[in-house]
Symmetry: C2
Subunit: 410 residues, 2 copies
């Protein structure tokens, strides 16, 4: 009896990534990890969580509501808060445009189910977020990777993808995962114009948007589209769907994310969400709402300061130690620096050596490419290490790269 | 611009149920509702939740672990507890057979993704759980409804479905939703024999299994299969996948459910879960684990007593008040009684009158039928009403049915 013969065509299309196996080695606490794109647990707002929980559990009515089944769309005050937070005069968002999800990953799942058919062309940045590729892969689309430069996707290349028939474009405009790039305003405006010229739905992933360390990022694609369309038009003519999450700024285990979409699409997403898992935990939503509306802005200030210092430390160390033939992005926010090794150096093989000899870890870049390539790239995260560890780790990594490059030449 | 033209074929196949719209009327607090299949919030173990939360949040290390990203498979102690709880000498379950999900609904979602292709025949009881039909519908299978009698699915009819090519059978053997039926042991044994004769995967939904009010239900299909196969064979030859949930016995908003499956299938489900939503909230899993391992058995004793009294009150009232030409199931557990009205009486139209004139609600039965029928059936839940309210409500409902039946004759 083999389950393989029973798997659906969709299920056969998705396999465990080799990264996943590799990263299991990270359970070793002596490894200095620059691999995970995760928040520093020391910065979790634990005291606020306890205070708010006590408030909720101290009120019998709210406590019972929090523990019961609840509406698929989400907790109304949270939906209203999200709508207010992202509204502009042009967009005219309200709670009817908001679906609360189990993290931005589930937002992608529902959008993929709603919009993607087998073999349909989907434009994605090259490289892009691995988790998006994985969930899209369960729909067996035809990925069209779009070339990027240090400012993100190249719009002339994006237009070619739209001309080739892509009707969906997934993008992380701010401090991209994994590349660290941020789209300048002009490119955002071009993307919106192209989307409307070719009738392409845009999935804008804002996971890292509030984590800026220098200046705030340009207007979001959603905001740019609101201005492009003019007041009150987005509800019927909007093509931008924006997704967000509490995982990077507050607490990943809330599993609270959201989707902002025109109502005609949102209604379908609600039906799919109901079929998928009925609803997101009401107690987690109430907690998220109270954290958002009380401490979020102050908390993000702290994160910006701490992560900003770590980003500076990483950029400084890489400038100081890296061999000249290795390039890297200098992100203005988020959690990631992207390295390009000399051609021929394989970041996966290098990782084996890095783990075994230097006890340091990162994520090889190949998996972030929808259709292969990027064997000589890698992603470094600076969010969980002290500036001192970052300096030490970048020194070791740079030495290793230089050593391996010499070995390759020899 | 119409989103309808952009929807995937799968998304087009699923529509909002009319029930959903109807049940929005239940927000009216003056309506006496027998509609929802939900636990009574007055019975939530709120003090235990608070005690456990304080324990978790009082320990910095556990608190941080609880709030962070975590393994897709689930929290290891919870997986071990679930494996132990459902193990038998024959099955030899361990944590590697357990995937923690966001409720049993997500277990169904992942199984549907793993095992169902468009047009593939799927056997389901007629009637069966609406939420299962909804999630399966997103895979556009070919439902084969299998006739039921007061003991559940009729096995000779099930064999016909298997002969017609069904390779999956979804079933709720204990106190079925919506029908209230429980499969006797002999039928369970026949089902396992048929599954192995025709190589059919069985999805066994145990949502209500521990909520018995008379004797415990017979051995589960998983246990029966373990005995059928003999010691140590299930891992490689098992066809039964069992799903369960904390929603009916503890707290729905935990959004903690599970899937028990042979490892070869479980590994694929883990990949699909990771793509779907990365993981189930670790803090909710730790809370569920501690509730399970400390208070579950005592708490279920309380639920059995309270819900059992309500079940008795409903059965007694229906016996007393219902016209003779209305039949109903007498469940031995769970939350539901199933009514069959005289042919020609439409339970949906009746509900409109029940809400408007008598301020009582139930769920019309048609939606529980995969391929239509059941217009004269309805589901009553006794889980959230006092025996007094149940008596009052059943009197009103019975009078209404008698009135409408007379009106129909006239």
């Amino acid at each position: 009896m083999s389950w393989n013969t029973k798997f659906s065509e969709d299920a056969r299309a998705i396999e465990a990534s080799e990264i996943r196996e590799l990263l299991k080695l990270l359970a070793d606490p002596t490894v200095l990890s620059f691999a995970g794109g995760i928040p520093d647990p020391e910065l979790f707002p634990t005291a606020d969580v306890t205070r708010i929980r006590n408030d909720i559990e101290g009120n019998q009515q709210i406590s019972r509501e929090a523990m019961q089944y609840s509406a698929t769309e989400g907790y109304l005050p949270l939906r209203e808060w999200i709508a207010d937070r992202h509204n502009t005069d042009n967009l005219e968002l309200d709670f009817g445009n908001i679906l609360v999800t189990c993290g931005a990953q589930q937002s992608l799942t529902l959008l993929a189910a709603a919009l993607m058919d087998p073999d349909a062309p989907i434009a994605v940045a090259d490289p892009t977020y691995l988790g998006a590729l994985q969930v899209f892969m369960t729909r067996r689309p035809n990925f069209i990777p779009v070339a990027t430069d240090p400012d993100g996707v190249v719009t002339s290349e994006l237009e070619k993808a739209f001309q080739a028939g892509a009707k969906i474009f997934y993008t992380i405009p701010d401090f991209q995962n994994p590349g660290g790039m941020t789209l300048p305003l002009e490119r955002r405006q071009e993307i919106i114009e192209l989307a409307h010229k070719y009738d392409v739905a845009i999935i804008e992933d804002t996971a890292y948007r509030t984590l800026y360390y220098d200046a705030p990022p340009p207007a979001s694609l959603l905001e740019v589209e609101g201005e492009f369309l003019g007041k009150g038009k987005w509800q019927n003519e909007g093509l931008v769907i924006q997704i967000g999450t509490a995982s990077k700024t507050l607490v990943p285990a809330l599993r609270v994310g959201w989707t902002i979409a025109p109502k005609a699409l949102l209604d379908k997403l609600v039906i799919l969400k109901q079929a998928n898992d009925l609803q997101t935990s009401c107690m987690n939503q109430i907690l998220a709402y109270r954290l958002f509306s009380s401490i979020l802005d102050d908390h993000v200030l702290t994160l910006r300061q701490v992560y900003g210092e770590r980003k500076d430390a990483m950029v400084k160390a890489l400038r100081q130690y890296l061999p000249n033939n290795v390039s890297f992005t200098e992100p203005e926010g988020g959690m990631f620096v992207w390295l390009r090794l000399p051609e021929g150096l394989d970041a996966r093989k290098l990782l084996e050596v890095a783990l075994a000899e230097d006890k340091i870890a990162y994520v090889p870049g190949a998996a972030f490419h929808a259709k292969g390539g990027g064997d000589n790239t890698l992603r470094l995260s600076f969010s969980t290490c002290s500036p001192e560890d970052i300096d030490r780790g970048m020194k070791k990594l740079s030495d290793l790269i230089a050593r391996e490059a010499r070995r390759q030449v020899a």
